[in-house]
């Protein structure tokens, strides 16, 4: 009873269109960014999440008016290495690794950049509970743990307090551990006796393992009543598994707010997707970068609001959905004011 109320309260909190809350002191961005430049290396530009994030960051940089370069690559380490080399040789002020690229896999190169006087940041990688690598100057972190609580609460409420949840994650993605941990802890807290199951599928095996893994889990435990694929792009492999196993009454809740999954929410194949505005995230990331360059205090988190999309509000996400609709545009005005552009 108690748990149900907690869970419902948490969900309620993330249903409202977010307001802008500044994460730091206002400053004159144009003045302090005069002549500065940022070089951002996404994990790969072959996934839309990163394309959108980079677009938002480039937009924000344009508003302020400094040089912003995205290193277009397809996710191979030699390309990342070359990217850092380019940033150093072209004399950028800051090199950023974005959208899931773990700076630990570029430690020597980023250290070299640091020694060459460049600032080093990460964008949209760490969970708020995780420590950044020691050669990184600042990180725009993401509240994955909070997302975990939201997803667990959702499953708890939807199953009327009797969740039997299958969690699907990818341990090879850095924030997965605290993310999954948060879901598991929250579920156990709400319902200590309920069963839950976790399967780990490395990213490069999503197409071959998620479907069979989900099917097998459903077959071995027909009591499973909710599935949480923690990154929403996993859903496309979960759905056929449900259809084939004939378990169409099992719900799916997930995270990221990727447009095609929001479309699935509209179609009713996915019940809920926790979204984060990538436009907002991009502005927040640029905010953190500028503060780093200008030697100001940098907020611990990107402070991106999380918004629940379900059948009640999915129409606000656009049709077809996109990465930025439904969140309002409070952040645009908010950041402009924060940066002294108004």
């Amino acid at each position: 009873q108690d748990a149900m109320e907690t869970a419902q309260a948490l969900l309620e909190k993330h249903r409202a269109i977010p307001e802008f809350e500044p994460q730091g002191e206002p400053f004159d961005a144009q003045a302090c960014m005069e002549g500065e430049s940022v070089f951002s290396i996404p994990i790969t530009m072959a996934i839309p999440f990163n394309v959108e994030l980079q677009r938002a960051m480039a937009r924000a940089a344009e508003e302020v008016g400094f040089t912003y370069t995205t290193w277009e690559n397809q996710g191979s380490s030699d390309a990342w290495i070359q990217g850092v080399n380019q940033a150093i040789s072209q004399g950028y002020s800051l090199v950023d690794v974005a959208g899931g690229l773990n700076p630990a896999v570029l430690a020597p190169q980023l250290t070299e950049a640091s020694e060459a006087g460049l600032k080093v940041t990460t964008t949209h990688l760490y969970d708020e509970t995780q420590e950044q690598a020691d050669f990184v100057d600042a990180s725009g972190k993401v509240p994955y743990s909070t997302v975990g609580e939201i997803l667990a609460s959702w499953a708890y409420v939807e199953t009327e307090g009797a969740p039997n949840v299958l969690i699907i994650g990818s341990d090879d993605v850095l924030p997965t551990e605290p993310f999954v941990q948060s879901i598991q802890d929250t579920l156990s807290e709400y319902c200590p006796d309920c069963t839950q199951k976790y399967i780990n599928v490395p990213v490069n095996e999503w197409a071959t393992r998620i479907q069979s893994g989900t099917q097998s889990a459903l077959l071995s435990d027909p009591g499973i009543n909710y599935i949480i694929p923690i990154y929403d792009s996993m859903s496309q492999f979960v759905i056929p598994a449900l259809r084939i196993a004939g378990a169409t009454d099992v719900g799916i809740a997930t995270f990221n707010g990727t447009p095609f999954v929001l479309d699935m929410v509209r179609e009713g194949t996915v019940q809920m997707d926790v979204g984060e505005s990538l436009g907002w995230a991009g502005y927040a990331a640029v905010d953190a970068m500028m503060r780093t360059i200008c030697d100001m205090e940098v907020p611990e988190s990107l402070g991106i609001p999380l918004l629940i999309f379900d059948e009640s509000n999915i129409e606000t996400a656009g049709n077809p959905a996109d990465f930025d609709s439904g969140y309002g545009d409070a952040h645009v005005q908010g950041f402009r004011a924060l940066w002294g552009l108004e």
């Binding site: 197409a207 099917q215 097998s216 496309q236 759905i239 056929p240 259809r243 084939i244 196993a245 479309d263």
Partner: protein
């Protein structure tokens, strides 16, 4: 001629061996089922489990059957998975974003696959380049095309009509997708075993010069093989989109190596030493049975890879032992 009358004598004993050889993989499959049946009597040995296993592998089956054709004629098609992915994306984009009727999209995708196969054939045959590098190149090129037409996005919302007839509708409790794979396998089996064209394909694969000397239009046969492989990869793409109701620009590429594994594993069964569709079918289901059983037992992700790799090598090794380690002639 004294040399000729010897071989006929040990025929009977040879035949039993031959049968064991042919059905070793099937026996292995039954053995796996028995093991998991013992370990998980309540959950594994249910029709639901089997119908799930059968229904879920249609894409891989069709893809593996596709590459099997050029393998038989002595060429590698490494572009098959790229064609599959491009095909499923084209289907989704044309159906969802351009508003094409899904039937038209399906036909277009199969045609596109066919054309991609013929482009492969053109470079392989006209320039006389090794198929491996041509199909690797064309495949990579298609991967770029996929990213381009999709803006690197996953596109969902493919017409439910397609999803209906692929995975929702059932026969004997098994999604229709399974029967499409089965049908392709049976047609292919008939073509390969009971038509002269099929035998020509085999001939071309085993000895190109010899086939040419026998008046087989070798280039045409190889081109057709690439075309069929492309067309079937396109069909696999249709099924892929039909399974999920969506298309994403990269994940289907992961099916390439499993498809080769299935084709080679299948070549140890039914007609040992020869790529063959029924063997391929058995190979796919043998592997998925193991994976399913292990997952149901709660094995970690890595155990599945260990099983997959290990089973592949062990199954082929055992079948080679049964064949007394005769070398495999493929090309």
């Amino acid at each position: 001629m004294s040399a000729t009358d010897t071989p006929s004598r040990p025929l009977a004993s040879l035949d039993i061996k031959k049968e064991v050889e042919r059905y070793a993989l099937v026996l292995g499959w039954i053995f796996l089922i028995a093991i998991f049946g013992l370990l998980l009597p309540d959950t594994f040995l249910t029709w639901r489990t089997f119908s799930s296993m059968l229904g879920s592998q249609a894409v891989l089956v069709v893809l593996a059957l596709g590459i099997l054709i050029p393998l038989t004629s002595g060429d590698f098609d490494l572009s098959a998975a790229s064609i599959l992915v491009f095909g499923s994306m084209f289907l989704a984009v044309s159906n969802v974003q351009w508003g094409w009727p899904v039937g038209l999209s399906v036909v277009a995708v199969v045609l596109i696959g066919l054309i991609a196969g013929l482009v492969n054939a053109f470079f392989v045959l006209f320039f006389r380049i090794h198929s491996l590098i041509v199909t690797l190149g064309i495949g990579t090129f298609l991967n770029g095309m996929t990213l381009w037409i999709s803006n690197s996005r996953t596109v969902s919302g493919v017409s439910m009509e397609l999803v209906e007839i692929v995975v929702i509708q059932r026969l004997f409790g098994v999604p229709l997708a399974f029967y499409y794979g089965l049908l392709v396998a049976l047609v292919m089996w008939y073509m390969l075993e009971f038509t002269i064209s099929g035998r020509k394909l085999l001939f071309v694969g085993r000895g190109r010069e010899v086939a040419r000397l026998n008046g087989v239009p070798v280039e045409r046969v190889r081109a057709i093989a690439f075309g069929i492989s492309g067309g079937l990869s396109g069909l696999a793409g249709v099924l892929y989109a039909g399974m999920t109701g969506s298309a994403d620009p990269t994940s289907g590429l992961q099916l390439l190596l499993p498809a080769f594994a299935a084709a080679f594993l299948g070549a140890t069964a039914i007609y040992p030493g020869r790529f063959n569709p029924i063997g391929t079918l058995v190979g796919v289901y043998f592997l998925i049975t193991g994976i399913t059983g292990l997952t149901m037992l709660g094995a970690d992700a890595y155990v599945q890879s260990l099983f997959y790799g290990g089973a592949l090598v062990v199954a082929v090794s055992l079948s080679q032992l049964v064949r007394q380690r005769q070398p495999q002639h493929f090309a």
